[in-house]
Symmetry: C2
Subunit: 172 residues, 2 copies
């Protein structure tokens, strides 16, 4: 149960009620409105500093994996190097990110947050965690488990395994 999905005692048509077009549409609209809320708090903080979501994403993942290479970040973010490079250049110029030449392969650049970068990261993620914590707390742990299961399934299949293992190393 749980994993496979059906509550016991339901008829076949009742079992599939959660897959009606109307339920799916509500799920779609929920994703739209929830994502707006999800990004609202960091967006406000970023706007003050003339930054956008792209800067937030770069900062987030550099903080998560200090020393990661530009090429890794490109795969994670799914954008072109030109697009990422503009953001990265600003962050380096502004002293939030440090780009160190790789030790073994000196073509590579290892990215690190500076103290100033970590400070902004903390501010942004604290705001985002606050909303996530309230949502999780109000919904309860069982709901959180379901939330995770559905979102994992919504990720592109060819990215899913890579990304999930990356997010949580204690995984199959």
């Amino acid at each position: 149960m749980g994993q496979s999905g059906y509550s016991k005692g339901a008829t076949r048509s009742e079992q599939l009620l959660f897959l009606t077009d109307d339920q799916l549409r509500q799920g779609i609209e929920l994703m739209f409105f929830a994502y707006r809320g999800f990004t609202a708090d960091p967006d406000r903080l970023l706007a003050d500093r003339q930054y956008g979501r792209a800067h937030h994403r770069a900062i987030h993942f550099i903080n998560r994996r200090p020393g990661l290479m530009v090429s890794d970040l490109l795969v994670i973010l799914g954008v072109t190097k030109q697009s990422l490079n503009r953001v990265l250049r600003q962050l380096v110029e502004d002293g939030l990110v440090e780009s160190r030449v790789g030790r073994t392969d000196r073509r590579q650049r290892n990215l690190h947050l500076t103290e100033k970068g970590r400070a902004l990261e903390q501010e942004l993620s604290a705001a985002q965690r606050r909303r996530m914590r309230t949502a999780f707390s109000n919904a309860g742990p069982d709901a959180v488990q379901g939330f995770r299961q559905v979102l994992e399934q919504m990720i592109d299949a060819d990215l899913r395994d890579r990304v999930l293992g990356w997010m949580d190393p204690t995984r199959p």
Copy 2:
């Protein structure tokens, strides 16, 4: 249970494990990656026709509430009238949307999809539903219930009630 959240027999610290910063961070990253997947299919279809997500959103909500006014759409989408107007003008010019003068108040414009507009809407929403259906199906109905609970809580509090009643009229 469920609503209030705690599985019986768990200690207080176990009960709150789902609220650790690490769990919250994983939730945040999951939202990022899942939203990319969520928009990927429609994005491809839209790119072929030189449209973007803004067009999709307008088409979606005009289809959902035929005859809705521009001002309603502005509130739902949370953008400026200038931003919406550009998109709307294109859709009208391209013959996907019809803008009819209001019967009672002739300042208002009631928006409707044309046959051509409905055709594109169907194509876009079919692709998006396909992914949502697979995700729901793989995760199961209990997970879907949790998914909905968490996402509802993530919506801005001042929008939540309005939007939820709007999405599902069979609600408190």
